[in-house]
């Protein structure tokens, strides 16, 4: 898989259609990555659990494509999509998920803690809303050091329950920090519908702090990208933070082991959202607009699938960290 920098060059020299084709590729890569993760879990090759991003790909890709490689992101327990969209390589990600030395964090972090300075990834986070402070702090550094970087803080709508989010939104707006709070509203906090946990109006919660708060169809990568670009550039110009709700859907369970979901949501609901699959939607559009033929897309998918299989193979074959690693990296 290409790095962010590679991809950028391609886009900047290309036409609009190339950008969307690129995003199609990115979303497909995330989808196929996640399918491999599920496979690894089912085959009992992966220690622990993982939270799949299937169905939400348009959010990570639409937003991250509005960023430069130097811009920062923070991510969540459901973080594979963000990491890949910001440029992480699948082989090292799989290695991390398997706890291998070759992983992004030498296997010490695992699925919920992938971090990578080379792609501006400050880290996934297993505490709900746990990275909201970190993202805001990265924006604080950017402003203080005059680097023109922007920080994007991804979080699920469940994080709206955590007070620290409001604390840092207040700080960000007071100090006009270049941070975008991206709320991925996929309807569920684990097994509980967000309407049971979220009073009032989501956008209003951010708007109350004086920042622009927008919402967008999170299944439409073009819409996400357009609005993200606008908010990112605004932040880069020094005009302060913004909040963006992306309405999306978690097509799988809360984690790979969450198979029987009917006690908290209907098959019908899942099917309806399945029909709004963001990848299929972009694909249909690309074909309709004649930017690509069905075959091109199919070939792209096959190629990515092979990449993913190779990446998994690499990770499975990779070595665990040696026992001496256990007490390394506690202190810098």
């Amino acid at each position: 898989m290409k790095t962010v920098a590679d991809r950028r060059t391609k886009i900047e020299t290309g036409t609009g259609a190339e950008l969307w084709l690129h995003m199609y590729r990115q979303m497909t890569a995330i989808r196929l990555f996640e399918e491999q993760v599920n496979e690894l879990y089912t085959r009992a090759l992966m220690p622990g659990l993982a939270h799949l991003y299937v169905g939400e790909e348009a959010v990570a890709v639409g937003v991250c494509e509005a960023l430069t490689p130097e811009d920062y992101i923070t991510s969540t327990h459901r973080g594979h999509g963000h990491c890949l969209a910001k440029g992480a390589a699948p082989d090292r990600m799989f290695a991390e998920l398997l706890g291998k030395e070759a992983g992004y964090c030498k296997g010490k972090g695992g699925s919920m803690h992938i971090a990578d300075p080379t792609t501006g990834n400050l880290g996934a986070n297993a505490i709900v809303a746990g990275s909201t402070g970190i993202a805001t702090g990265a924006a604080f550094s950017a402003k203080q050091l005059g680097t023109k970087q922007v920080a994007v803080c991804f979080f699920g709508e469940g994080a709206l329950g955590q007070g620290v989010l409001y604390e840092v939104m207040n700080l960000a707006q007071l100090w006009k920090l270049p941070v975008i709070y991206v709320c991925e509203n996929n309807f569920y906090n684990e097994y509980t519908h967000y309407l049971e946990t979220t009073a009032g109006d989501i956008q209003a919660r951010a708007a109350a702090f004086g920042m622009p708060a927008e919402s967008v169809d999170g299944q439409d990568v073009r819409a996400v990208h357009a609005i993200a670009t606008r908010l990112v550039e605004r932040a880069r110009r020094g005009e302060g933070p913004a909040f963006l709700v992306c309405n999306t859907y978690r097509m799988r369970g809360h984690h790979v082991g969450d198979i029987n979901r009917e006690y908290y949501r209907s098959k019908k609901e899942e099917q309806e959202w399945g029909d709004r699959d963001p990848i299929k939607r972009l694909g249909d559009w690309l074909i309709k607009e004649k930017h690509a033929g069905a075959e091109t897309l199919h070939d792209m998918e096959s190629e990515i699938r092979r990449e993913m299989e190779a990446a998994v193979k690499f990770a499975v074959a990779a070595a665990y960290p040696g026992p001496e690693e256990v007490d390394q990296d506690v202190y810098a």
Binding site: G48, G107, M112, N189, E190, Y191, T192, E196, Y320
Partner: protein, 335 residues
């Protein structure tokens, strides 16, 4: 030790069932008991510990909350002061970080600061323990923090029997009690009496009688200590296993008497080894049994590192029976 031995007077249930039964019995007994937490109702928690309770008691008493650990813990403090007996569920013990102000500056101090006028009869149930490949933010055993704070009581059950009896007592207690369950023990089976019973807080349990060395172990480390004791038996070392069951109140006497008797002690706890529970227990024994000890008290806790995800690394961080066995053998001058 549980006075429950015969098949006719006991049933086998899992640790999770023991917790659930304790809650159900207390909720039947006292309508003021309510459960608050994330995914506690229909989902019955991610560990399925509470499955079935919402069906019996309804969503007015088994209440799904937003992901607001500070908020609903604070709410529980106020509810406890004003006539309810809330049991809050903090899914992973790592998230108590978010509740420290409510528990320590509020719940623990309300009674004292009000000159004894207000009371806070609440329970916080949460988890501890690593080894689930959940990495650094979902694997901590932070019970030492609460044990450090006057006004709180801290319970660490190690068997289904203890879990049920202690939780019932905790719910009836007039003070804030934190109840730590090891995530790895939920499926462990053990006998409980057919009859209702409770276990007082502050009474250690001798889980195994021995003569050569004392193990003081908490939570799942009790099982580790018992397993090591079996291994030691084979080389002729007789280990006594004491489970304090509550770190506060602490049954110092039982610990110290055992160490006096055996003249050697190892304390084993899954919290970080430094400035944690092992330090207090070791200090208590070293002071109380000073003139009887033949060797320094040995401490075994989690390695002083964030818990790593990678399985071989994670496994190295938590005391296991081999480590206890090795330490005991050495302490008894056998290595």
């Amino acid at each position: 030790m549980p006075e429950i031995a015969t098949k006719e007077t006991t049933r086998e249930i899992t640790f999770a069932e023991a917790v659930r039964e304790a809650l159900a019995e207390e909720m039947r007994r006292d309508s003021r008991v309510v459960i608050l937490g994330e995914d506690v109702a229909e989902a019955g928690t991610p560990f399925k510990v509470l499955s079935g309770l919402v069906e019996e008691f309804g969503t007015q008493r088994v209440i799904d909350t937003p992901i607001s650990e500070a908020g609903f813990t604070g709410l529980a403090v106020g509810a406890a002061m004003t006539g309810l007996r809330p049991v809050v569920d903090i899914m992973f013990g790592d998230f108590i970080t978010l509740t420290m102000d409510q528990m320590v500056n509020q719940a623990a101090k309300v009674h004292y600061m009000s000159g004894g006028k207000w009371k806070v009869p609440m329970v916080m149930r949460t988890t501890l323990g690593a080894a689930r490949r959940s990495a650094a933010q979902h694997s901590q055993s932070l019970h030492a923090w609460f044990s450090h704070v006057p006004g709180l009581k801290v319970v660490l059950p190690s068997t289904p029997y203890d879990a049920k009896g202690l939780l019932k007592t905790a719910i009836r207690d007039e003070n804030p009690v934190i109840f730590f369950e090891d995530k790895m023990m939920f499926k462990m089976k053990g006998p409980v009496p057919l009859e209702e019973y409770t276990i007082p807080l502050g009474v250690a349990d001798v889980k195994r009688v021995g003569t050569d060395i004392t193990f003081v172990a908490t939570s799942s480390m009790v099982q580790v200590a018992l397993a090591a004791a079996v291994m030691l038996e084979e080389i002729g070392i007789s280990a006594e296993v004491i489970d304090p069951r509550t770190t506060w109140p602490l049954d110092e006497k039982t610990l110290v008497e055992s160490a006096k008797k055996t003249s050697r002690a190892i304390v084993i706890d899954e919290g970080y080894g430094r400035y944690g529970v092992t330090a207090e227990l070791a200090a208590v024994i070293a002071e109380g049994a000073f003139f009887n000890l033949d060797a320094p008290v040995k401490r075994l806790g989690a390695m002083h590192v964030p818990i790593p995800f990678s399985p071989p690394l994670e496994d190295a961080t938590v005391p296991n029976e081999q480590m206890v066995f090795d330490a005991a053998r050495k302490l008894c001058g056998r290595s």
